[in-house]
């Protein structure tokens, strides 16, 4: 009896593995193997045309000690991620709350607000963004009609250029908005009713019920968006090209330049691994901190 059960279980396991085989094969071929190769390449000098040559730690040493642009783009990326992500989460939470009531038009609005998330990474939007923030572009026009200075050269100033990219990132709040929406819907309405009976106003309800109940969702969004923020590429590459003075040069764009413009695949691989290390570290810290501020109802 016992034996037959294990046979059945084994067969079930086999079937299960068969079902996930397509993913596993794809993952091994297109993710796991390239990752290992890139780790090896990070210790070599490799220009694609000739075979890689072992150079030990020299890529890493150069990266940390003598490449000033490396640290510049690292700082730019940190700034971009840490500024754009909280703003984006705030924005998406606000919109999600506005569109909470299950009315038809709210569904339509949610769909409309989601569109930027689909379009946002596209080249067309990047080009539109260039036009919007040009000196004679729409943003300055609007500022002009409001009686504000209308000759700001957004893209040529080191202090403003990065903000055009941050605004673009915030604008793409759709996916985190959807996650917030479902999170909000999970909060039991009894809690609000009880609070109302106790005489709590809307603001108190938000801080005492909505926010605590939402922390798991905020945590999830934060981790996901932060990782996305570190990986950002298109906007910097297309809109500003890193200019002016590398003030908008994202890490991934610099990595791309090293890899494909200067054919330094080894160096670029080393950069990729450092980025992975930073992202992993950031994620671990977030998880560690989550005990203090993330509230799981089930615990």
């Amino acid at each position: 009896m016992q034996q037959r059960k294990t046979v059945i279980r084994r067969r079930e396991n086999l079937e299960g593995y068969l079902f996930i085989m397509p993913f596993i094969i794809g993952f091994l071929l297109f993710t796991a193997v390239p990752i290992c190769v890139s780790f090896y390449l990070s210790f070599t000098k490799y220009d694609i045309l000739s075979s890689p040559r072992w150079t030990g730690l020299s890529n890493y040493i150069k990266m940390f000690t003598s490449d000033r642009v490396f640290w510049t783009c690292f700082k730019v990326t940190l700034f971009y991620a840490f500024v754009s992500v909280p703003l984006k989460l705030f924005m998406s939470l606000m919109v999600a709350m506005l569109l909470m009531k299950p009315k038809l038009e709210n569904g339509i609005f949610r769909a409309i607000y989601y569109i930027p998330s689909i379009l946002g990474g596209s080249i067309a939007i990047a080009v539109v963004w260039c036009r919007l923030f040009a000196t004679d572009g729409a943003i300055n026009n609007i500022l002009g009609t409001l009686g504000l200075p209308d000759d700001i050269s957004w893209l040529s100033r080191t202090d403003t250029a990065i903000w055009t990219l941050i605004v673009l990132a915030i604008w793409q709040f759709g996916s985190s908005m959807l996650i917030f929406t479902s999170g909000l819907q999970q909060i039991p309405t009894e809690l609000y009713e009880a609070a109302r009976v106790d005489g709590a106003g809307k603001i108190v309800q938000f801080f005492r019920i909505t926010l605590p109940m939402l922390t798991p969702v905020i945590f999830f969004n934060l981790v996901q968006q932060l990782i996305n923020g570190f990986m950002a590429f298109t906007s910097s590459y297309v809109i500003t090209g890193g200019a002016p003075l590398n003030s908008t040069l994202f890490y991934s764009v610099y990595l791309y330049q090293q890899a494909f413009q200067f054919s330094k695949m080894g160096y670029a691989s080393a950069m990729a691994w450092f980025m992975l290390f930073v992202v992993a570290l950031m994620t671990i810290l977030l998880f560690k901190s989550s005990d203090r501020w993330v509230f799981y109802e089930t615990k």
Binding site: I35, S38, I48, C130, D136, M231, T234, Q261
Partner: protein, 465 residues
């Protein structure tokens, strides 16, 4: 229990995300291949690379039943794509045994794609090659030696000048067949200079040029732009002293100190501080405009190549009359810096299985008048003297002026620099970045020159290792 479960789940999610991060870079890079092309707004007319943008396309030409399929790849703009496809169509109709698969793409992505194909041993049979990449590809044994096709007469070069053919040789072996010649030129708005009563000489000194720039600005408000996108101007300043800025070998700059870089960065500093040069704001906004400075009537001249003139003026007002002169020289120069350059080449891949057929196509491109009547002067002045004479005859307007410029400059031109070493692309990027810092007032010309001298030597040294 629940707590550990959710933690485990959390860790699983995090691992997955990290995996995504790693592939993220790869997929981002792929999407940008087209990104670079699509973002093509506001072509900086000065740079061949920037002015030629199209999306990548793969097209099949000729009958499906042909025995031999040749893959042909080039970079270029829409005009070149249309003309080249039409020319190959003509060849395929005359030679039904051959058909073509063509790949065309803009300059930047072209070399990325080619490098990837080279790594996979999948280079196209016929490759449009550039002088700056020739050495790199030849040294990696990726290009076929074409001497045998010259010797057995498959490619007829009897009407081509020896120096033109030699420019595609490495150690006496022909690896690249010149597709046309071009030369640096200053294209200027003659309507404007005439209205200011300025007679533009064949070649100015920089000082004279800048004085005129001031004059034109005072009278019309139109400005100039000194190129920042690569090392060419600096290279010319070195040529004027009889030096080669980026020698093929040695892993170092061909200048002993920062005096020549200083000449260049001083020029950048002086002009950006003047009112007759476009401002950094205008330069930043250029990327968002679909017209260059010249078409916007913001500048009255542009540093470019004669083969680019036609596409540069295509966006401009048709009533404007254009003039073409040489790039300025530096006061006290001992050597004429102007030179005639093979605008581009055709190479045959060493891995190609149809080298003979590919060579026949190259002969057709070089010697067929019908082919060249389609191609015209898009790749520069045709290399065969018989063909070029006939082609020039049929041209008019700016297209003719641009081609007549070659014989004009050939009278004074000196020999072209040897092909640049690997690492020169990065040196070019260094120049661009330093120019930006000078223009934003973050560095003085002297600081930029010193920095350039140290860093460029490091880059070249490292590339050599």
């Amino acid at each position: 229990m629940k707590g550990t479960k959710s933690k485990l789940l959390g860790i699983a999610v995090a691992t997955l995300m990290m995996a995504e991060t790693m592939c993220g870079c790869g997929s981002a890079a792929q999407t940008t291949e087209n990104a670079a092309a699509d973002s093509a707004v506001g072509a900086t007319a000065g740079s061949e690379a920037a002015a030629e943008e199209t999306t990548e396309e793969v097209t099949s030409i000729g009958s499906d039943s042909a025995q031999t399929t040749l893959r042909v790849a080039w970079w270029g703009n829409q005009v070149r794509n249309d003309r080249t496809v039409e020319m190959l169509n003509l060849y395929a109709s005359e030679h039904p045994e051959v058909n073509f698969e063509v790949e065309f793409i803009e300059w930047g992505s072209y070399w990325e794609k080619l490098a990837t194909e080279a790594a996979g041993g999948e280079l196209p049979d016929i490759i449009q090659m550039d002088y700056s990449y020739l050495l790199q590809y030849q040294q990696k044994n990726l290009l076929a030696n074409m001497n045998e096709f010259i010797d057995n007469g498959t490619i007829d070069i009897s009407n081509c000048s020896q120096s033109t053919i030699d420019s595609g040789k490495v150690d006496d072996n022909l690896y690249a067949l010149c597709a046309g010649s071009s030369a640096q030129c200053l294209l200027y708005n003659k309507t404007v200079t005439d209205s200011c009563n300025i007679e533009v000489p064949e070649q100015w000194t920089w000082q004279e040029f800048l004085e005129v720039a001031q004059q034109v600005y005072d009278q019309t408000g139109m400005k100039i732009e000194i190129l920042s996108n690569d090392e060419r101007t600096m290279e010319n300043l070195a040529r004027g002293e009889g030096k080669v800025l980026l020698p093929s070998e040695g892993g170092a700059l061909g200048v002993e100190d920062s005096s020549i870089p200083l000449k260049y960065f001083q020029l950048i500093e002086d002009t950006i501080n003047s009112d007759y040069h476009v401002t950094v704001e205008e330069l930043a906004d250029l990327s968002s405009s679909d017209q260059g400075f010249l078409a916007q009537n913001k500048t009255w001249c542009v540093f470019t190549y004669n083969s680019m003139c036609v596409s540069v003026v295509a966006d401009c007002d048709e009533s404007i009359e254009w003039g073409i002169s040489m790039w300025p020289s530096y006061e006290g120069d001992t050597v004429q810096e102007a030179y005639v350059k093979p605008s581009m080449f055709y190479s045959i891949a060493e891995t190609s299985e149809n080298k003979e057929e590919a060579a026949k196509v190259l002969d057709f491109i070089t010697n067929s008048i019908e082919a060249n009547q389609i191609l015209l002067t898009d790749r520069g002045l045709p290399v065969s003297s018989v063909i070029s004479a006939e082609i020039i005859e049929g041209l008019s307007g700016i297209e003719r002026d641009a081609m007549d410029y070659i014989p004009r400059i050939e009278k004074v031109a000196t020999t072209i620099n040897p092909p640049s070493p690997s690492g020169s692309g990065e040196v070019g990027a260094l120049v661009t970045s330093l120019v930006e810092q000078v223009r934003y007032g973050q560095m003085s010309a002297q600081e930029a020159a010193d920095e350039f001298f140290v860093q460029a030597n490091e880059i070249l040294q490292e590339a050599q290792e």
